[in-house]
C-alpha cells in the first residue's frame, strides 16, 4: 500500500464518521426548545452539541491531511458529497424515533471510538481516546431511556417497538463496508465494519433483553445502504439547505 492510497482510505474513513456526527448532531438539535421535558430538552441538546463538536475534531484531522477547512467542508458540500449513513439524515419524527436512533447510533459510535483509541493512526487515536468519556454518558442516557420506555406502559412499549422496527434496517447501514476496508484493516487503522457490527449487535441486545421490546431480525439484505457512497434520501439536501442557510449569506464572515 503506497502512502497516497493509504491516505485515500483514511480520508474516506474519517469523512464518513465525521459526516454521521455532524448530520445527527444537527438533526437532534431540532429538538431544542420543543423536547418532551425541560430536563430532557437540555440533556438532548447538550449531546447534539457534543456530536457537532466531535465531527469538528474529525474535520480538523482531515484539514491536517490537506482537505478544506472544517466550516467549508460542513457547509459547502452538496448531499451527494456527504458520506453519512442514511439513518442519521432521517427526520426527527416522534420523540421515540429520535431516542431509538440515538440508542442505536450511539452504541455504534461509542464502540467505534473505543476501538479507535488503539488505532495505528495516532492523531485519530488521540481524538478517540478523548471523546470516549463524553460518549459514555451519551450511551448511559440512551440505555436509561430505552430501559424505562421499553418497560413502562403498553403505549410506550408499542411506540418504542415500532421505532425500533423502523430504525434497524437503517442502523445496519452504519456498517456498510468501505471500498478500502481491507487497506484500513491492513494498516491497523480500524478492525473493520463487520467486526464492529457484531459487537454492536451484542451490546444493543444486552439492553433490549432488559425490556419488553423484541429485537427485530437482523437481516443484512434489508440494510439501507448507499449513504457511504453518496446516495441519500430526499431529507439530506433539505437538512443541508437549512443548516448552511446563514453560512452561505456570507461564507467569509468572521464569527
Amino acid at each position: 500500500m503506497d502512502r497516497a492510497g493509504g491516505n485515500i482510505a483514511l480520508k474516506e474513513f474519517l469523512y464518513k464518521i465525521a459526516d454521521d456526527l455532524l448530520i445527527l448532531g444537527h438533526r437532534n438539535s431540532e429538538w431544542t426548545g420543543i423536547g418532551p421535558l425541560l430536563e430532557e430538552d437540555i440533556a438532548f441538546s447538550s449531546m447534539a452539541q457534543d456530536k457537532i463538536g466531535q465531527s469538528l475534531a474529525l474535520y480538523q484531522l482531515l484539514h491536517e491531511l490537506g482537505e478544506e477547512d472544517p466550516d467549508k467542508v460542513a457547509f459547502m458540500r452538496k448531499a451527494g458529497e456527504f458520506r453519512n449513513c442514511q439513518l442519521v439524515e432521517l427526520p426527527i419524527a416522534e420523540y421515540e424515533f429520535s431516542l431509538v436512533r440515538h440508542f442505536l447510533f450511539d452504541h455504534s459510535i461509542f464502540l467505534r471510538f473505543q476501538e479507535l483509541s488503539n488505532s495505528s493512526y495516532h492523531p485519530l487515536a488521540m481524538v478517540a481516546k478523548k471523546l470516549v468519556g463524553e460518549l459514555r454518558y451519551h450511551v448511559l442516557h440512551a440505555n436509561t431511556f430505552t430501559k424505562k420506555l421499553g418497560t413502562a406502559t403498553e403505549e410506550s412499549i408499542r411506540r418504542m417497538q415500532a421505532a425500533l422496527d423502523e430504525a434497524i434496517p437503517y442502523s445496519l447501514g452504519i456498517f456498510e463496508p468501505s471500498p478500502y476496508e481491507q487497506e484500513l484493516i491492513d494498516m491497523g487503522i480500524f478492525s473493520g465494519e463487520r467486526l464492529l457490527c457484531q459487537t454492536w449487535e451484542q451490546e444493543v441486545m444486552n439492553i433490549i433483553r432488559q425490556t419488553s421490546l423484541k429485537m427485530p431480525d437482523i437481516d443484512r439484505d434489508q440494510a439501507k445502504t448507499g449513504g457511504r457512497s453518496g446516495i441519500h434520501t430526499e431529507y439530506l439536501q433539505l437538512l443541508l439547505d437549512e443548516m448552511s442557510e446563514v453560512f452561505k449569506l456570507d461564507p467569509g464572515a468572521e464569527w
Binding site: E30, G33, I34, L37, L38, E39, E40, I42, A43, S46, M47, Q49, D50, G53, P91, K130, L131, V132, G133, E134, R136, Y137, L140, H141, T144, F145, K147, K148, A152
Partner: protein, 209 residues
C-alpha cells in the same frame, strides 16, 4: 370538550405542517408532575459535596442522567449524588446567628434497628447551598442528627440540616469521572463566548465611517 388549534412560529414545526391541538379539558396531573430529586455535586476531588438543585424524573436512573447535563453542563466536577427529595429529612430552619443544633435535644427515641450510614448536610447561610458535613452510622434520621451534633457542631451557627440515608443516594464512582473529561474544552458553552458587545461596537464604528 374544547379543542383549540395553534399555529406555531417555530420553522421546525411549520416545516412538517403539524397541526398543534390542545385539549383544554386534558387532565393529567399524575403524568405531568414527576417526583423531584435533589442533586449534589463535588467540584473537585476531596471537596465536600454541595447541593446544586433539583430535577424532575420518573426514576433515580433518569434523575441521574438529567442531573448531569442540568448541573454540570458548563463547569466540570468530580462526582454527583442524586436522592429522591422525599427521602431527605429536614430540620427546622433558623434565623440569623441561631444554631439549629442548640434546639436538638435527645428525646431518647427508640434507637433499635439496623445500623446504617447517613449523610449530613449543613446550611450555613441563607441563600447558600447545603454542604456535606460528614457521615454518621446510626439507626434513623433523628438519631443521625443527634450523632451529628456530637461530631459536627463546633458552635458555628448552622441554620438548617438535611440528612439522607446513604443507601438512598445514587452516586458516581471513580470510573464515571470520564463523563466530564472533555468539559473544560467546551468553552463554547460559557456565556463569555456569546459576548457580542465588542463586535457590535466595531460594526457601528465601521458604519459611521
Amino acid at each position: 370538550m374544547i379543542v383549540m388549534a395553534f399555529e406555531s412560529l417555530d420553522p421546525r414545526i411549520k416545516r412538517w405542517n403539524l397541526s398543534l391541538q390542545r385539549n383544554e379539558e386534558y387532565q393529567s396531573a399524575d403524568l405531568d408532575q414527576l417526583p423531584t430529586y435533589e442533586v449534589f455535586l463535588q467540584m473537585r476531588d476531596g471537596k465536600a459535596y454541595e447541593h446544586a438543585g433539583i430535577v424532575h424524573a420518573a426514576t433515580a436512573d433518569m434523575a441521574f442522567v438529567f442531573a448531569k447535563e442540568q448541573f454540570s453542563r458548563r463547569y466540570t466536577c468530580t462526582g454527583m449524588w442524586v436522592v429522591l427529595s422525599e427521602r431527605v429529612w429536614v430540620t427546622d430552619c433558623m434565623e440569623l446567628e441561631e444554631n439549629v443544633y442548640d434546639h436538638i435535644v435527645d428525646t431518647s427515641i427508640n434507637a433499635d434497628g439496623p445500623q446504617e450510614e447517613y449523610e449530613i448536610f449543613h446550611l450555613m447561610k441563607r441563600g447558600k447551598q447545603h454542604k456535606h458535613a460528614g457521615t454518621v452510622g446510626t439507626t434513623g434520621h433523628q438519631q443521625a442528627i443527634l450523632q451529628a451534633k456530637t461530631q459536627f457542631d463546633d458552635g458555628t451557627p448552622v441554620l438548617n440540616i438535611w440528612t439522607a440515608k446513604k443507601a438512598d443516594i445514587s452516586a458516581t464512582d471513580a470510573e464515571d469521572q470520564v463523563i466530564w473529561s472533555t468539559l473544560k474544552d467546551k468553552t463554547h458553552r460559557e456565556v463569555i463566548s456569546y459576548r457580542a458587545g465588542d463586535r457590535l461596537k466595531a460594526f457601528k464604528e465601521r458604519q459611521n465611517g
